[in-house]
């Protein structure tokens, strides 16, 4: 950009915009820092908004540049569209929304890369930067779109396992590198476009191979990619603000993926390439087949049990989100708390389809966050709990993870609900969880099943509690 500077005052205002970029970068760091607790989170978000406003304002104020007037129009239109999407989305659809927005970042990065390509490519270094930006952007875009469709249920959550898929991935990667060498020698549109196409297929294939239970990891990985792609764009455009911001987002997503993987006791490679959750090894499935029948309980007698309880822990899972039962659950919590029952929530790190998904849903239903605890905080309390209520969760409360070394989820940290005096499991049907593994919890002698749609079932319990 420096080549546009002609006068002294231009240099002055350029320096000013550099300072503005710095301030914006600091504000973004403060925004992330604010999220360290619920008290400061809202302020953090405001820092982010202010930072973004400064960044856009400073860019538009750069000296010596004549921006196309349609840019302003597109910003205004986009703000309206974005606001509408954000205001209309339900909290249960949050995972889809996040995935979709990731694809937008990826798409924008690809387009910016092509825009420079169509403009002019100044040097070898710039060529490489464009190439990297476009490739990561393309993977992010198509991967996120597929993740969006999977989360919405438009595409089956089952992993797609093509024969020789590792070989396929490798072949695509090699093709991208070869095209990259070709492109860097003579930066032409055709090679860039071909590489983009391959990267797009790669993005789809990578996400297609990942099972529904691993969706939290996928979403946070795509989050990370969208950050790296912004950083790559920063290299391409000589813009430090993009680099800093992209790096922040990239590392944020990377850490989230790491935390999710640790919560499932699996390595990141295992998640990315594993095709986990398709078909558990038949031998393991047989060995772990628990004997016995499940015992059912109806809403009225469950309510009676609840009335007599002192300590209750509720473990929500994706089933609660799917049935939109969080308000009913909150109502049950309120009624019980009014009667002096100590009700708390136990959240497994991978419950739901997004990291922290359950917390958001419970917050939406006005459950106070100080009774919503993490696994590490509450797991030791189950033995002193009268009733553990599992609502639409399966794998995260599966005792096989601890008891059966041949189980596919062996070693994964789980919530030890079975240590409570009574476990009531609400489930729509007797189907296995997303991981496709049978759950011995259902057959334990202290477990009672409350079959039915979470919302309807819990509402019935609330009615009997009040009656």
């Amino acid at each position: 950009m420096l080549e546009h500077l002609t006068t002294k005052s231009d240099i002055g205002s350029y320096a000013l915009s550099v300072v503005a970029y710095l301030i914006a970068a600091v504000l973004f760091i403060l925004a992330l820092r604010g999220l360290s607790s619920q008290e400061t989170a809202k302020r953090g978000n405001i820092y982010g908004i202010v930072g973004m406003a400064i960044a856009i304002g400073a860019t538009l104020a750069l000296p010596g540049l004549r921006f196309h007037p349609l840019l302003i129009a597109s910003i205004v239109i986009a703000c309206a569209v974005g606001a509408m999407m954000a205001l209309r989305v339900g909290m249960t659809q949050m995972p889809e929304m996040v995935a979709l927005l990731h694809s937008f970042v990826g798409l924008a990065a690809v387009l910016v890369g092509f825009s420079i390509q169509l403009d002019h490519v100044a040097s070898l270094a710039e060529g490489i930067e464009i190439y990297v930006d476009v490739i990561i952007g393309a993977i992010t875009t198509t991967g996120s779109v597929l993740a969006f469709l999977k989360l919405r249920g438009s595409v089956s959550g089952k992993p797609l396992l093509l024969p020789g898929r590792h070989f396929l991935n490798l072949a695509m990667l090699i093709a991208i590198i070869v095209l990259g060498v070709v492109y860097s020698r003579a930066p032409q549109v055709w090679s860039l476009a071909a590489a983009t196409a391959i990267a797009s297929i790669l993005g789809v294939h990578l996400v297609a191979a990942i099972g529904g239970a691993d969706m939290p990891v996928v979403v946070s990985m795509l989050n990370s990619y969208s950050g790296w792609t912004a950083a790559a764009a920063g290299f391409m455009l000589d813009n430090d603000l993009l680099i800093i911001t992209g790096a922040l987002v990239g590392s944020s997503g990377a850490i989230l993926s790491y935390i999710m993987c640790r919560a499932m006791n699996r390595s990141i490679w295992n998640v990315i390439f594993g095709g986990f959750g398709a078909t558990p090894p038949p031998s393991a499935g047989k060995a772990a087949q628990p004997a016995g029948d499940v015992q059912e309980i109806d809403a009225a007698s469950f309510a009676a049990q609840l009335k007599a309880a002192k300590n209750v822990i509720i473990v929500p899972g994706f089933g609660m989100a799917a049935a939109r039962a969080q308000h009913a659950v909150r109502e049950m919590t309120d009624v019980l708390r009014k009667q002096g029952v100590n009700v708390r929530f136990a959240i497994h790190p991978v419950a739901g389809r997004l990291p922290g998904h359950m917390n958001v849903l419970l917050a939406e239903a006005n459950v106070p966050y100080d009774i919503v605890l993490e696994m590490d905080e509450i797991n030791q309390d189950f033995p002193s709990t009268d009733i553990a209520i599992v609502i639409g969760a399966n794998d995260i409360v599966n005792p096989a993870a601890e008891e059966d070394p041949t189980s596919p989820i062996a070693g994964m940290p789980v919530l030890q609900v079975w240590k409570a005096k009574l476990v009531v499991v609400n489930k729509r049907s007797r189907a296995a969880g997303y991981a496709g593994i049978d759950n011995p919890l259902f057959y334990k002698s202290n477990t009672k099943m409350l079959f039915g749609d979470s919302k309807a079932a819990i509402e019935k319990v609330v009615a009997s509690l009040k009656g």
């Binding site: 978000n45 960044a55 921006f67 986009a78 792609t229 990291p355």
Partner: protein
């Protein structure tokens, strides 16, 4: 099996080994309980209450003839003669300091378990009578100090003038020290504490007290949660700190003990002399020689108007609650030994074996080193943290919410970040080198290296910041980072300059999508965060 609760004969001892409450629990568990006539009277537990609880009121000789005799103080010589051969005696014994007593007991061929030797492991906390008594001592020390102190602990503004809050310094933040901090804080005083053990800092702060430190770093952790003796330099620095504090504080409560040694002299004569008249020193180490040079055990000394309280019977001054606590400790201890049906001395029980002094007259003290049963005895767990005692509600961290420190891995992840950044840099360098040998002379490459520096720094900061995000906010984190990554809009803007052409058109679309992301991301985050309420 019959338990005998005998009356304490030591002058001024008001405690009794168990309250009627505890006796009722024993009866329910299947023990028979004999209580000596008048045993609980001094602790405000009349005989009638023991009878209601199911005990039999008996004469002295009968109580001493029970299968298990329960007591608070070590037995007096004349009491020892009343012990029957084969009886089990459980009380405070202090065998290290009382060798003669142990020998005399051995002659009677009795089994003796010392409550003061119950190990400080987490499993045995409910039997830890020393901690129970220290907790009471700490509280009572504040009450005794307040009694002698001629002013308010809490600051007051009245029509007649204002009174600043009293300042209380507690030296040694063990069980007694923390209880004292809690009590003084509860009365409204400004509280400070000093301890050589670094682990004490967090506990002190959790009580809402200030933690004083000296500039010299030296670990003061010794065995079993106690402190060890410190170096001369450290002690000098400590004295300097105390001299400074002496002029400022109104009440000093010292609780410093080193196991098996006389109490360290920490509050010297000149410190007492520099205190304001009317100030109070309570020395909880008086029985072991005292932390203050002026201390006289069981007496109150006055020097220049400063009172130095050396009472050694503080728990006995709160005999009612002390008997209840001690009784509960005994209850859990007997339970650990098998209860009425399976009562025995189990040498493999790591909570019981260390307390065994004599077995049928045979010396069993000191115990052999135990097999490592507890997963990790060192570092010594400060015994006071999980105590469900009166100070418990004050021990909760004052920070809002429930999110305590989480296991973090910043060092590991920043290592990974550095490695990744280094790898990228190396690959780029290699790629450029291979593609264009003259690459390093170009200004573009210089810029690249500059950007790389910024990139690495930003990744590093990102890793540091993100580890602090509470897991409950991971979804808002994702949506806010999503919004922020819409910063790519800046790229779209920069490409959208000049007249409408192919590349400007593409940039317009890029701007459109990036801005949707920015607006949508921030608004969604706002919506989500607005829902989190306490």
């Amino acid at each position: 099996m019959k338990l005998g609760i005998v009356k304490e004969t030591r002058p001024h001892e008001r405690r009794v080994a168990a309250s009627p409450n505890v006796v009722a629990k024993w009866i329910k568990a299947g023990w028979q309980v004999d209580v000596e006539r008048g045993a609980g009277t001094a602790g405000s537990y009349p005989d009638s209450q023991y009878q209601e609880a199911g005990a039999t009121i008996v004469e002295r000789a009968v109580a001493w003839g029970a299968d298990v005799v329960l007591k608070v103080r070590p037995p007096e010589p004349m009491e020892i003669n009343q012990l029957r051969e084969g009886t089990t005696l459980i009380s405070f014994i202090y065998p290290a300091q009382n060798e003669a007593l142990t020998k005399r007991l051995a002659v009677r061929k009795v089994t003796v378990l010392a409550m003061d030797l119950v190990p400080r492991i987490s499993r045995a906390q409910k039997m830890d009578a020393l901690s129970s008594m220290q907790n009471i001592s700490g509280y009572r020390a504040v009450i005794e100090a307040a009694n002698r102190f001629g002013s308010f602990f809490t600051g007051q503004f009245t029509a007649a003038g204002k009174v600043p809050p009293g300042k209380v310094l507690v030296i040694g933040a063990g069980v007694a020290g923390l209880a004292a901090l809690g009590a003084a804080k509860g009365l409204g005083a400004i509280v400070r504490a000093f301890d050589v053990r670094a682990a004490a800092e967090e506990q002190v702060k959790s009580m809402g007290a200030e933690f004083l430190t000296v500039s010299i770093k030296e670990a003061g952790e010794g065995q079993g949660g106690y402190a060890k003796e410190m170096s001369k330099e450290f002690i000098d620095a400590e004295y300097a700190l105390f001299r400074e504090q002496a002029k400022d504080v109104d009440v000093v409560i010292t609780t410093a003990l080193i196991p098996g040694k006389p109490a360290p002299k920490l509050w010297l004569k000149d410190m007492v002399e520099s205190m304001r008249p009317g100030s109070v020193v309570v020395d909880l180490a008086a029985e072991q020689g005292g932390n203050c040079e002026y201390t006289k055990p069981n007496e109150v000394v006055e020097v220049n108007g400063v009172s130095i309280i050396g009472y050694t019977d503080l728990p006995s001054r709160m005999a009612h609650v002390a008997s209840e606590f001690y009784g509960m400790n005994l209850f859990h201890f007997l339970d650990e030994m098998g209860g009425p049906s399976a009562f025995k001395v189990d040498h493999d029980n790591d909570a019981v074996r260390p307390a065994l002094v004599l077995e049928k007259g045979e010396k069993r003290y000191p115990p052999p080193p135990m097999k490592k049963v507890e997963a990790s005895p060192p570092p010594p767990k400060p015994p006071e943290v999980p105590k469900p005692l009166p100070v418990a509600e004050l021990e909760r961290p004052t920070t809002p919410g429930h999110h305590g420190p989480k296991p973090r891995a910043p060092s590991r992840s920043s290592g990974v970040a550095i490695a990744v950044a280094g790898l990228i840099a190396a690959l780029l360098w290699l790629g450029l080198r291979l593609a264009d040998p003259t690459a390093f002379s170009s200004i573009e490459t210089l810029k690249l290296i500059q950007h790389l520096t910024v990139f690495v720094m930003a990744v590093f900061i990102g890793f540091q910041v993100i580890w602090n995000v509470t897991p409950a906010l991971h979804t808002p984190l994702m949506s806010v980072t999503n919004a922020i990554s819409g910063i790519i809009v800046v790229g779209g803007l920069l490409q959208g300059r000049g007249d409408l052409s192919n590349h400007v058109g593409v940039a317009l679309v890029a701007t459109l999508f990036a801005t949707i992301n920015v607006a949508g991301g921030f608004i969604v985050t706002r919506r989500m965060l607005a829902m989190f309420r306490k």
